[in-house]
């Protein structure tokens, strides 16, 4: 019934991945182009990238791809807990909702929560780390001790405590909470890089040519820190996905009836032995997505390694 949209989504995925692959063909000496070429030639990472592209497209097109509404409960008696069939590829849950449709909408929620949260933590972490590393001295020491303090608070417990008190939590707040508790790693990476970059001849040379601190940070330091930031963003997405799934599974993250992969697992948790499909499919979705982001992250780490630029 949605065959056409599915075909469109498949075509779109192919086009995007093809475009990425072709973008790696050019022989420009740009370090980004070189990294792209290297990423494309790494089959595992490129496959992971394509899986992610497909997931993003499916998530974006969920309303047009899903055969049913994710919250419709057509017949709570006759249609509940049906095993996978042609009509319901992933079966139905205890409320007769179509698990496949919910998984598609769940992708929307889970991926957008993860992506937005990582945007928050990458921005905060980059700004914080860049300032600490660039200013240096006592300010740097204080800022880093604050990070140590932040890292010593167990993130999940903190989140559970806040979320449990603030129920039901609106999605933007969930995103902010996830983002604001996840930037310590990025800021450490950025600070370390900035610390070493600011001592480079390049920076002295730029200063000698009249560049201001702002210009040096934006043009000379941050572009050279972008690689580790990209890598930690990619790996960070996988991490946030798991945290969000965990929180939703515990019932304090994304609240029903909204579908997220985490709370879908919760739906089937009580009867996992008999009604396996309710939890298994969202679980698999999490596994595939997290693995794809991790593999892409590893591939990016190799592709963006500056030590290989001349190779």
């Amino acid at each position: 019934m949605h065959t056409l949209t599915w075909i469109a989504a498949a075509v779109l995925t192919t086009l995007v991945c093809g475009a990425i692959a072709r973008a790696g063909d050019g022989d420009s000496g740009s370090p980004w182009r070189i990294a792209l070429t290297r990423l494309r030639d790494n089959h595992t990472a490129f496959a992971a990238l394509c899986v992610i592209v497909a997931l993003l497209i499916v998530a974006a097109l969920a309303p047009w791809l899903a055969p049913y509404s994710p919250i419709a409960q057509p017949d709570i008696v006759k249609l509940k807990n049906l095993p996978p069939s042609l009509a319901h590829p992933f079966g139905t849950d205890f409320a007769s909702r179509d698990v496949f449709s919910r998984a598609l909408y769940g992708a929307r929620v889970s991926l957008s929560v993860a992506l937005l949260a990582i945007v928050v933590s990458a921005s905060v972490g980059t700004a914080y780390g860049a300032i600490a590393g660039y200013v240096g001295g006592r300010i740097d020491t204080i800022m880093m001790r604050l990070i140590d303090a932040g890292l010593s608070v167990p993130r999940i417990l903190l989140l559970i405590a806040v979320l449990a008190l603030w129920a039901p939590v609106p999605l933007p707040v969930l995103v902010l909470l996830l983002g604001l508790t996840g930037w310590f790693g990025v800021s450490r990476v950025v600070r370390a890089q900035v610390l070493s970059l600011r001592e480079r001849d390049m920076v002295v040379a730029a200063r000698a040519l009249g560049a201001s601190d702002r210009e040096i940070l934006w043009r000379h330091i941050l572009p050279n820190v972008l690689s580790p930031i990209i890598v930690s963003i990619t790996l960070g997405i996988a991490n946030v996905l798991i945290v969000e799934a965990g929180l939703s599974y515990l019932g304090v993250g994304v609240r029903p009836p909204s579908a997220s992969w985490g709370n879908m697992i919760l739906d089937g948790a009580d009867e996992i032995a008999s009604l396996w499909w309710i939890s298994t499919f969202p679980g698999l979705a999490i596994v595939v997505t997290v693995m794809a982001f991790n593999l892409l992250g590893d591939g990016l780490r190799d592709a963006l390694d500056p030590r290989q630029v001349d190779g």
Partner: protein
């Protein structure tokens, strides 16, 4: 430095420049310690000395590029085009850097930003210092690359530092430095990282550009060969101080300071029959504890009691020729110990 009417005013005038590094604790590293010299318009001044003698710190001090824990000490004075550089605020000194005074460095690979193509980096200088549009700045960058002898400049401008050879990279750095037609170019070991043939080309290019643009060059190097080729006047630095200053011919023909003598005899020359080059014994002392008296005395073949106790002033030797050595006051001592000093390297 009051003017006789015929002498033009110096472009750059440094008086009692001291740049010390306060590294914590009691010890202060007096890397540059009371340096004074002038650079006239259109002239090339060479600044020579061993590593650690303070020549790079001197050049960085001129542009106020010294970072903590380094500090230009009160009492120092740097005048450039009639302005006291040390009293300028941040914005004003930035407007001079890369615009009126430019600097090129030893290692062009690490001085360029690996993630931007060279055209962008050269164009950036114009965008920092003038209201040039992106396109205008790019065109000027390509033009500048052409002027510094880069073949196919429009294509090269789109290349990244790692795609260029060492010589081309240094040319790109020079293009960047000269983009705004500075009055003074500080070249800190500009050829040290390059092949000998490329070295000569770069020095030639600098001389040619100097003639065309009419700028002054402060050439910092440890290589007297480079000085002989390019400079008109030479400053010899040792242990944070200027120890000798002379026109280039005078320096090579009649060096006065024993340290300069040492540097000259450590340099191979055509027709030289010696089998081994002479070395100056010992190393530059630590800037946290310069020796008392003459800072060179414990490496000097002529040193006598006076050198160990009394700090030598800059003695006038001849026209434009000064030397920080007590031999100027007691020239007879050079002959007396000359035999002993001369005997050593022959063995």
């Amino acid at each position: 430095m009051t003017s006789s009417p015929s002498a033009s005013a110096p472009l750059l005038s440094i008086r009692d420049l001291s740049t010390w590094f306060h590294t914590g604790g009691r010890s202060v590293s007096r890397a540059v310690d009371g340096v004074s010299f002038d650079v006239m318009p259109h002239e090339t001044v060479g600044l020579v000395g061993e590593s650690g003698c303070g020549k790079s710190v001197t050049s960085l001090s001129i542009l106020r590029l010294i970072e903590r824990p380094g500090r230009i000490e009160p009492g120092s004075r740097i005048d450039f085009e009639g302005r006291d550089l040390l009293s300028l605020d941040d914005r004003a000194i930035r407007a001079i850097r890369g615009n009126r005074i430019s600097m090129i460095f030893q290692e062009p690979m690490t001085s360029l930003n690996p993630v931007f193509n060279v055209g962008d980096q050269i164009a950036e200088v114009a965008r920092v210092h003038s209201r040039a549009s992106r396109r205008e700045a790019w065109e000027r960058a390509v033009d500048m690359l052409q002027q510094v002898g880069v073949p196919a400049p429009a294509d090269r401008a789109r290349e990244y530092p790692h795609q260029l050879s060492g010589g081309l990279r240094q040319r790109a750095m020079i293009a960047m430095a000269l983009m705004m037609h500075p009055a003074l170019l500080i070249a800190d070991e500009p050829t040290t990282a390059l092949d000998v043939t490329i070295q000569a080309q770069i020095l030639e290019l600098l001389a040619e550009l100097q003639a065309r643009v009419g700028m002054s060059i402060l050439l910092i190097t440890h290589d007297l060969g480079v000085i002989a080729e390019s400079a008109t006047r030479v400053l010899v630095m040792y242990a944070g101080q200027i120890v000798e200053e002379a026109p280039v011919r005078t320096l090579f023909d009649a060096a006065h300071h024993p340290y300069t003598e040492g540097l000259l005899s450590a340099m191979p020359r055509l027709g030289d029959r010696r089998e081994r080059l002479t070395v100056i014994p010992g190393t530059v002392p630590s800037p946290t504890q310069w020796p008392a008296g003459c800072r060179f005395h414990d490496r000097c073949a002529y040193a006598w009691e006076r050198c160990r106790t009394q700090v030598p002033p800059l003695y006038q030797i001849g026209a434009g020729h000064v030397s920080r050595c007590h031999l100027a006051a007691e020239p007879a001592r050079r002959q007396a110990s000359g035999a002993a000093a001369g005997a050593a390297p022959a063995s």
